[in-house]
């Protein structure tokens, strides 16, 4: 008979984390840099998420926006949407939160290595994709060409604007950005229109390409169609990240199911062929 | 795990469930009573979650006294002494009728009786009322006049044998879910269903006929149906001859209500009216179900009279599967009325103006009692705003959110020289109090409750109250003693003995007899089995009275400045001012904030999209909340639930009162909606 002590931890126990810095990304989004209080690394992989806990407000799933190749911290890009994220937005550097995780299936790096990558993000989807982009940046030789496509509602809604320009000018990546609407006085020099416009005229070596899509629910189907037209029709060529309202992160609470799959454990990153036939997945 | 059978604290259906407590005496869950005649192993979502608020950390745990503007923790003796001395001195300076007592449809029969006794015998005023003023005062007034008894005439079991159900002004599957489900089951077994409601409620999807008549046009609709029934010669002549009076006057009053005339007022097609009237009159057993859609109007009593007229005209009274069935909204709003928490009657609807009755209570309580009927709660608010009511004791009510025209209510409450509130949570009203007294909630005290079908049944204690909180009956007894009255009841069962002795309709009610499933009043003697169906041999008043009524429009109708109808009510997941449900995890999660239902057509015209923040204003106030685009409401009407303090529907509503019942017109006023 086991006698659990008070200090034993549970899969539901948050670990204390310190906020190192908070930076404004857009009027609704902030970038939080955190460190586990015991100084250890998060040991996540690109594409995984954590459950961020604030006492009184339970916890919420947030994808990690930084690559594990960057040591000493991890980052979360968070839009102010619900009660918990609003509370998080009010926190200052030095304050403490709890985290559980990392959880979930990451981007399948083994299948991406050596491939020509099409990394496609819409809106907030850039936050989780950034972990992969940073990884590619830091391990550039593991991948063939890397193209980044990002669409946002307007220039001021674009996340990680410094990163976006750095990726564009850094020479490692080929980047194309678009916005739905460009104000007349904007200095944004990207394109205007849907993200699919960026893909339509693309010349790629389809057989050696892999695409990764992270974006709002409405983005998936049109982007997938565009990729299919480019010739990405085989298995393990299109990877999607499916966000659901994960509550536990460990496949128990049931809030993130897609038919028989638990998004928090079986995903959030899926190959398209694993989910496209499932009702409500895309 | 331990299981304690009790009555649900939410609506008036009267479901019973087991409160499940763990080894530490903590409430951990709910299980429906498997064999109770109402619940039958089933509950609605509020019932399934009725344990959730009980141990909420915001429960009031100690008396609080306002000192230098701030509420500070105190002890019982100090707080009660202060309440008593302040009420007493106000009565001495300004007369007893400068005090007002608000009782509660959430506390037990015994507690309502005791508060009624406290007001009348302790502080010598008939100024006692409770929230039935805001829900079914029209029913009590109207049905007492036409039938002699202001309660649901039939029983819930009648749904199992009726041939037709006419639901008017009741969103039954949301507000009395376990009654709504019985209606759906009746439909499945072949009963006909007519729904008259401007909103496309769930029942409407299952109705043979859905009449979307304009809010406030019920009298026209019902008169039109009756006129058609008379035209077709479908009235129940034998029943009318034997058991009713005043038909001639009714006939005269109905003559003008042709289908075409009614169509103009109600907005429904003449053919729809004719079909509905014929369908209703074609069956042998029809039940009329109604709720706030009928009562909450400046002509609420007229609406009730019209409903009663229709039942009498078609002989749908006094038999199984028939009846005039007002659905009572709170778990003990029937009981609070029965116990005389009303300004004009003692328990059992015995009139305070009747000298013999007064003498009876006077003798029993050992004091002289005031003769003139007291103030209705809605009039008391007006009187407080005008400085005529100066001291108020509120038991478990939150008028700041629940009463019409919030600005007026706030002015009234702030204007009081002394306000004491007994409650379980720091409600918006309690925040204005001079003294707050912490009460035990339903799961923490014994008592009896009377459901909508007049079923008197037990509430049982499962857990201890938090901190210093006390059962309401004990708090009231402390005040009774301070008034020099005897109040040595060892338990609520002893209070019930006193009630039974003084109240003919409860004469046979005693705790041992309430095991396990309760008794339906009238139950005049200890060997009486209770009365599932009222008016079976004859009406309580003798003959059923046809009480002719004419259509009067609502007091405020849309115009150029305020072009939309505002309809208010409850949503399914929340309860009244939200003090319990907004502290229950699942219920709160379902609906966390105020919203306004708006028809997509109107939304498009106004440039409003789903979830957009909008500003809604009336002549009395303005609020902000999110838009919910739905064809549940017809074009031209918006609906806002009144649960949310931060988007209070009652900041907008019109406190135009029914002249007889004093009920405000919660269901109709004019508003403007703008994106913000």
């Amino acid at each position: 008979m086991s006698q659990p002590s008070q200090t034993e931890t549970s899969i539901y126990s948050p670990r204390p984390c310190r906020l190192l810095s908070v930076n404004k990304l857009t009027p609704q989004d902030k970038l939080f840099r955190l460190q586990l209080r015991d100084g250890s690394e998060l040991q996540h992989q690109p594409g995984q998420f954590i459950q961020l806990s604030i006492p009184g407000l339970t916890d919420a799933p947030l994808s990690v926006a930084s690559s594990p190749t960057r040591n000493g911290y991890f980052e979360l890009g968070v839009r102010k949407a619900g009660i918990l994220t609003s509370a998080l937005h009010r926190l200052q550097p030095g304050e403490q939160v709890g985290i559980r995780g990392p959880f979930g299936r990451p981007f399948q790096l083994d299948d991406l290595r050596g491939k020509q990558l099409l990394l496609i993000a819409g809106g907030c989807g850039l936050a989780p994709l950034r972990s992969l982009i940073q990884y590619c940046q830091d391990r550039r030789d593991e991948f063939a060409t890397v193209q980044i496509f990002y669409g946002a509602r307007s220039p001021q809604d674009m996340l990680f604007q410094q990163d976006l320009s750095a990726w564009q000018t850094g020479g490692s990546f080929n980047c194309r950005y678009t916005v739905d609407k460009k104000p007349v006085d904007s200095c944004f020099d990207g394109e205007t229109g849907l993200i699919t416009n960026l893909l339509n005229d693309l010349q790629i070596d389809a057989a050696n390409s892999c695409a990764v899509i992270v974006g709002p629910p409405t983005m998936y189907r049109p982007v997938i169609s565009a990729l299919r037209r480019l010739g990405l029709n085989s298995e393990k060529q299109i990877m999607v990240s499916l966000e659901r309202q994960m509550r536990c992160g460990v496949g128990k609470c049931g809030h993130c199911t897609i038919e028989h799959l638990y998004c928090c454990q079986d995903g959030p990153i899926f190959w398209l062929e694993e989910v496209e036939h499932l009702r409500g997945a895309l | 795990m331990n299981a304690t059978l009790t009555t649900c604290p939410y609506c008036g259906t009267g479901c019973n469930f087991y409160l499940l407590t763990n080894a530490h005496g903590k409430l951990r869950g709910i299980e429906p009573a498997g064999h109770h005649p109402t619940s039958r192993g089933q509950l609605c979502i509020k019932g399934w979650n009725a344990h959730a608020f009980v141990d909420h950390p915001e429960r009031l745990t100690a008396p609080q006294i306002r000192t230098n503007g701030a509420l500070q923790t105190s002890d019982w003796a100090t707080a009660l002494d202060l309440v008593h001395s302040r009420l007493t001195s106000l009565a001495e300076q300004h007369g007893q009728d400068s005090l007002m007592f608000l009782s509660s449809a959430k506390v037990s029969n015994e507690e309502n009786y005791l508060l009624m006794k406290l007001a009348r015998a302790g502080y010598r005023t008939n100024n006692i009322d409770h929230c039935a003023r805001l829900c079914h005062s029209s029913t009590v007034t109207g049905l007492v006049e036409t039938l002699g008894s202001g309660a649901m005439t039939n029983s819930l079991s009648c749904f199992d044998e009726t041939e037709l159900i006419f639901v008017i002004g009741s969103n039954t599957t949301e507000q009395h879910p376990l009654i709504g489900s019985r209606i759906l089951q009746a439909v499945r077994r072949g009963a006909k269903l007519i729904v008259a409601d401007s909103r496309k409620i769930r029942l409407a999807k299952h109705a043979d006929q859905h009449l979307r008549h304009q809010n406030g046009s019920d009298v026209a609709l019902l008169n039109g149906m009756m006129q058609q029934i008379l035209q077709d010669g479908l009235e129940a002549s034998d029943f009318i001859n034997d058991r009713c009076e005043n038909l001639a006057a009714l006939k005269t009053s109905l003559a003008a209500y042709s289908p075409e005339y009614v169509a103009k007022i109600t907005g429904i097609l003449p053919e729809q009216l004719v079909t509905a009237a014929r369908l209703f009159a074609s069956v042998n057993k029809a039940m009329i179900i109604y709720a706030m859609g009928i009562t909450q109007h400046s002509h609420g009593v007229d609406n009730v009279r019209a409903v009663s007229n229709l039942a009498l005209l078609t002989g749908n009274l006094g038999r199984p599967g028939t009846g005039v069935n007002p659905l009572r909204g709170q778990n003990n709003v029937q009981g609070a009325c029965d116990m005389g928490a009303l300004p004009n009657v003692y328990s059992g609807y015995q009139k305070v103006s009747d000298p013999e009755t007064r003498e009876k209570f006077s003798t029993a309580w050992g004091v002289r009692l005031p003769e003139t009927p007291g103030l209705m709660s809605t009039h008391a608010i007006e009187a407080a705003a005008a400085g005529r009511v100066r001291g108020m004791l509120i038991l478990g009510e939150n008028p700041l959110l629940s009463d019409a025209n919030q600005a007026l209510v706030e002015k009234a409450l702030r204007n009081l020289e002394f306000l004491a509130v007994i409650d379980i949570f720091p409600t918006e009203t309690a925040q204005l109090a001079d003294v707050i007294l912490p009460a035990a909630c339903y799961a923490e005290r014994d008592g009896s409750y009377t459901s909508t079908e007049r079923r008197v049944q037990r509430g049982r204690k499962a857990v201890d109250p938090p901190g210093l909180a006390l059962p309401d009956w004990q708090i009231i007894c402390q005040l009774l003693r301070r008034c020099g009255l005897q109040a040595d009841y060892a338990a609520p069962s002893e209070v019930m003995k006193e009630i039974a002795a003084l109240t003919p309709i409860y004469g046979g009610i005693a705790y041992p007899r309430l095991e396990p499933n309760g008794l339906q009043w009238p139950c005049p003697s200890s060997d009486h089995p209770g009365t599932p169906i009222l008016h079976s041999a004859g009406c309580t008043r003798g003959k059923g009275l046809f009480s002719p009524v004419a259509y009067r429009p609502a007091k405020e109708l849309p115009d150029a400045a305020y072009p939309l109808f505002l309809n208010t009510g409850r949503s399914y997941f929340h309860w009244h001012t939200g003090s319990m449900t907004r502290r229950s995890h699942l219920l709160d999660r379902e609906e966390r904030a105020a919203f306004v239902e708006i028809n997509p057509e109107d939304a498009q015209k106004l440039g409003i999209i789903e979830r957009q923040l909008v500003r809604i204003s009336s002549r009395r106030g303005a609020i902000r909340c999110r838009a919910q685009l739905t064809d549940k409401v017809p074009p031209g009407q918006v609906f806002i639930p009144f649960h949310f303090a931060e988007g209070a529907a009652n900041a907008l509503t019109n406190n135009a009162l029914d002249p007889e019942a004093g009920i405000p017109e919660f269901k109709v006023c004019a508003v403007r909606v703008e994106p913000c």
Binding site: Y12, K252, G254, H255 | A3, W48
Partner: protein, 325 residues
């Protein structure tokens, strides 16, 4: 190990168990409801209709403290409770327990559940223990002791070492009686066949969307089907703060509620009553089969009894088979 107990022996056994365990036994309550309640808290009820409260709630209760976070941010787990012993589970109760064990203990294991479950003692009650002593088939599985009522006596089969330990010292049972019980159990008709048929029709996409709309229109959103279901495992998390810190608990949740999957943005993958109604049935009859290899419904009938409008699992499965087979 097969033993024979008379009524007094049975009480003696329960008494012994209750010294070390928080023992819950079938109890007859005021209105006629039967459920598992603390031993000694009410009338022991050894025959009758199925237990009202799902027995799996002993391990996955409606409200359960997960942890507390003190004002310093330190996390504390709840103190261990006395181990639980349950007596009176029938075949469907144990099938549900097996299902839930597998679900919660699948890696990463839910330690809160497992901690209680590992230390528990489970005793079934079968044989002449149904309504009016009607026959309940043997469970043969996932319990420490199988207790079967036969001719006013109790045949006790120790399945686990723990169970056998409690049976030491009682008289030996007659193996022939056990064989008879097994034979009779095998003859019982199970509603599982109906569920299998419905499951097949669903996975073959034979059930059109309009069917779900029709069912959803009746649903009054009571959530009773989920809360009564012994294999339903969904929960929500609630935090409650007081001066001492934060208590984080889990509470039963229902996939029939709009906010179950609604995201902070307002997006909702289960955004209509129709989709949610489909999920309720589809999850048990198709998704669970896909994931766990068997139906998620043990045909206990609790959701059908809890449903105020007659659209519980068995009712819906019957309708599916009747209309789309």
């Amino acid at each position: 190990m097969l033993k024979q107990l008379n009524y007094d022996n049975l009480l003696q056994l329960l008494e012994t168990i209750s010294t070390d365990y928080a023992l819950q036994v079938p109890t007859l309550l005021a209105d006629g409801t039967r459920l598992l309640a603390n031993y000694g808290s009410g009338e022991l009820s050894l025959t009758g209709p199925p237990l009202q409260r799902k027995p799996t709630s002993a391990f996955f209760p409606q409200t359960e403290l997960l942890l507390t976070i003190d004002v310093e941010g330190q996390v504390h787990l709840p103190q261990p409770e006395k181990p639980v012993a349950l007596f009176g589970l029938d075949r469907t109760d144990l099938a549900a327990l097996t299902f839930l064990d597998r679900f919660f203990c699948a890696p990463p294991a839910d330690d809160i559940y497992q901690r209680k479950r590992d230390r528990a003692l489970i005793i079934s009650l079968t044989g002449s223990a149904g309504p009016e002593r009607s026959f309940l088939p043997l469970t043969e599985d996932n319990c420490d002791i199988e207790m079967s009522a036969v001719n006013g006596q109790y045949l006790a089969l120790g399945h686990s070492e723990l169970g056998q330990g409690f049976l030491d010292g009682f008289a030996d049972g007659d193996p022939q009686q056990l064989e008879d019980l097994r034979r009779e159990s095998a003859q019982q008709v199970s509603p599982a066949e109906l569920l299998q048929q419905a499951s097949r029709l669903l996975s073959e996409e034979r059930v059109p969307d309009r069917f779900w709309k029709e069912i959803a229109d009746k649903c009054i959103l009571c959530s009773g089907c989920n809360l009564a279901c012994p294999t339903c495992s969904c929960f929500g998390v609630q935090d409650r703060q007081s001066g001492h810190g934060t208590e984080r608990s889990r509470v039963w949740d229902s996939c029939q509620l709009d906010a179950f999957m609604r995201e902070a943005s307002g997006h909702n993958p289960l955004g209509s009553e129709q989709l949610r109604t489909r999920r309720r049935i589809h999850h048990k009859l198709v998704a669970d089969v896909e994931r766990w290899g068997e139906l998620g419904c043990v045909a206990c009938g609790r959701c059908d009894r809890a449903c105020p409008v007659g659209i519980g699992m068995l009712a819906v499965a019957e309708e599916i088979v009747r209309r789309f087979n």
